[in-house]
């Protein structure tokens, strides 16, 4: 390295930094706010997307689904498949799979005395359904189904409104059996749920699996098997085993292929975080370059003197870089601290119900839970340090390439 030891360069840089403490403080504030914004906004966005994905996957439901190959194109009762066989049952016993459920899922019409609506009728297995998809806390009146032969029906609050019906009353559900005959049946409403997204309340009605199978004359067949692992990012690890066990007669797909919109959301989010951090940094870098350039201009005579006294240009370069490194490190430390300090108290959720309607269109709920991810923090810090140093090379280079005589004569 240069003639001066690292410690001396560090000392010089540190003192130079605080010679004009007002400028340094302003710059520090800019870096701090920038870093805070990067991390905080990323956490908010991560939270939003996480919420959207988790909601979406709960609504699918499950990270992996098994269907009849034609079911997704034409979700009718003819495209059902047999209930899970032994090989599949044992494949689903791996530790990564936390829960699975089989469901009958067909389009149907629900009618009351006053109105009738198109819905999706779900014949579910209540015990496993609550682990994969249904949130028991959403039941606002009555109860959820008790077992798969429960003869009751659970509908959404909004649907109850539209049909002008209520808990304890009877409604008629109509659909078609595999022979294209009308299959209908009266159900008593035993529960009303209120979903995070109102559109779901108008779409899904829940009946017991066996009751629905009997009504549709389906025998033992189901429309889908939904398997949940709890971690949507690492589905591929256990997907293969399930696919093999399920066989080729059915279609086994992970969530990001079932709902490609959700899948691309995740990819888009990862890209978006990087773009966001870089944009904030670009704004920041102008301030940083400006500060350092000014610091260099101010000290032209001084730099010339130091060169005249024998300091090598490279040492001057290191010294200026060291100044900006110190500035960046302090700024990062403060920024990270403030970001963590502001996110942690908000982790219980931010109520954004004022704009809930708009958010619902995007598929997120009215509570925003910021999600602080270590990876995002590291990414932000690395980008700031690396790009920060790169941008300070320019002023440092200028300082190092002054001619000492000209510099000394500069007034």
């Amino acid at each position: 390295m240069s003639g001066l030891p690292l410690k001396a360069i560090l000392m010089l840089a540190w003192r130079n930094l605080w010679r004009n403490h007002r400028r340094t403080l302003i710059m520090l504030a800019a870096i701090t706010v920038g870093v805070w914004a990067m991390i905080f906004m990323t956490a908010l966005m991560r939270g939003m997307v996480d919420d959207m994905l988790l909601n979406g996957i709960r609504g699918l439901p499950g990270e992996v689904q098994i269907h009849h190959p034609d079911y997704r194109d034409d979700p009718n009762v003819n495209n059902s498949m047999p209930a899970p066989h032994d090989a599949l049952l044992s494949a689903m016993r791996v530790p990564e799979v936390t829960a699975w459920t089989s469901r009958v899922r067909v389009p149907a019409v629900i009618s009351s005395e006053r109105d009738s609506r198109g819905v999706v009728l779900l014949g579910v297995e209540p015990q496993s359904e609550v682990k994969v998809s249904f949130d028991l806390e959403t039941i606002i009146e009555g109860r959820f189904l008790e077992d798969s032969s429960d003869r009751g029906l659970v509908i959404g609050a909004k649907m109850a409104d539209r049909l002008e019906t209520d808990l304890g009353k009877r409604v008629v559900v109509m659909s078609q059996d595999p022979d294209n005959n009308i299959a209908d049946r009266g159900f008593r409403i035993v529960g009303v749920y209120k979903a995070k997204l109102a559109s779901l309340e108008e779409t899904y009605i829940y009946g017991g699996r066996e009751t629905v199978q009997k009504m549709l004359k389906l025998g033992n067949s189901v429309s889908e098997v939904a398997i949940s692992g709890g971690d949507y990012r690492n589905v591929d690890r256990w997907l293969g085993g399930i696919q093999q066990a399920a066989g080729n007669d059915v279609e086994t797909l992970p969530w990001y292929e079932i709902d490609t919109y959700l899948g691309s959301m995740l990819a888009m989010m990862d890209g978006f975080v990087l773009v966001w951090i870089i944009i904030v940094f670009l704004a920041l870098s102008f301030g940083l370059v400006n500060t350092l350039v000014m610091a260099v201009f101010e000290r032209v005579r001084e730099i010339g003197l130091m060169q005249a006294l024998g300091m090598r240009p490279s040492t001057i370069l290191y010294q200026i870089l060291m100044e900006s490194l110190l500035l960046l490190l302090i700024g990062l430390a403060l920024g990270n601290a403030i970001a963590v300090g502001t996110i942690i108290p908000l982790q219980g959720g931010i109520d954004i119900s004022v704009v809930a309607e708009g958010m619902e269109m995007m598929g997120t709920s009215s509570m925003l839970y910021p999600a602080l991810k270590l990876n995002d923090m590291i990414l932000a810090n690395l980008i700031v340090i690396i790009l920060g140093l790169l941008t300070s090379i320019l002023p440092a280079w200028r300082a190092a390439s002054y001619n000492p005589i000209e510099a000394l004569n500069k007034t």
Binding site: V109, S111, E113, R151, T165, V171, V172, G186
Partner: protein, 249 residues
């Protein structure tokens, strides 16, 4: 002795009037049979009334037993040829304009039939009331020299019926005077009422029937029977999809 003889005669010829315990289910069955016969052919018109418009169409209808019937519109010209075929709880419609037979899916069963106040379900499942409800006689009264029975029918728990109850008023000569549809809160939603009763085809039947919602009194549909023949024999080819598309009678 003579008086006893008269009593016996009376018992034989008007069993409904005298028997104290009338089976309401039987009464409804008889009312349905009376109206429908084993088979029938009729010529009727349907009037749909709305607050700002009203229209009528004429139609011909053939029935055979409880589960088979065919209806075809003859007037006005733009609706002529529209037909509905009912067979064993399945329902098909044909419209010459699209030249296509459509099987009415379950999703459309609760929609209106030809724009009227009758739903497809009202048309196709009118006899379900006999088996899917519990019937009880709630009132017997005299009216115009006839005995009139009021029967309350409550659907079974799992019957595919939205109503809380139906109340049927049936005269002792098996004419259905009124059918009321009540919701599960005990509010009357719609009624089907016989407005005119006369002798047609050798039977006393309701010749004008009006169906209307209670909360919209100026919206109703009236079916008026012009002529009816009972117990006619229909060829098997009558109740077929090809006949629905290409009328041969």
């Amino acid at each position: 002795m003579n008086r006893l003889y008269t009593l016996v005669l009376a018992c034989l010829f008007s069993p409904l009037v005298l028997s104290a315990d009338i089976d309401p289910r039987d009464l409804i069955q008889k009312a349905m049979d009376h109206w429908r016969g084993t088979s029938s052919y009729s010529n009727m018109s349907m009037t749909i009334h709305r607050p700002d418009w009203q229209r009528s169409m004429s139609m011909r209808s053939w029935t055979q037993g409880e589960k088979t019937s065919l209806v075809r519109v003859t007037e006005p010209k733009k609706d002529a040829g529209n037909g509905t075929l009912l067979k064993d709880n399945n329902m098909w419609t044909f419209a010459p304009k699209v030249n296509r037979i459509i099987k009415v899916p379950s999703s459309m069963m609760s929609q209106s039939w030809m724009g009227s106040d009758f739903s497809n379900k009202d048309i196709s499942k009118s006899t379900d009331i006999i088996d899917q409800y519990d019937h009880s006689l709630i009132e017997t009264r005299e009216q115009d020299g006839h005995k009139v029975y009021v029967i309350e029918s409550i659907p079974h728990e799992e019957a595919a019926v939205v109503w809380g109850k139906e109340v049927l008023t049936i005269r002792d000569d098996h004419v259905l005077l009124e059918q009321q549809f009540w919701d599960q809160d005990g509010v009357l939603v719609k009624t089907m009422k016989a407005l005119e009763i006369k002798e047609l085809g050798g039977r006393t039947v309701a010749s004008i029937i009006r169906m209307g919602k209670v909360d919209a009194p100026d919206e109703w549909t009236e079916m008026s029977v012009k002529e009816i023949e009972f117990n006619v024999s229909h060829p098997d080819s009558l109740f077929t999809l090809s006949n629905l598309r290409n009328p041969r009678q």
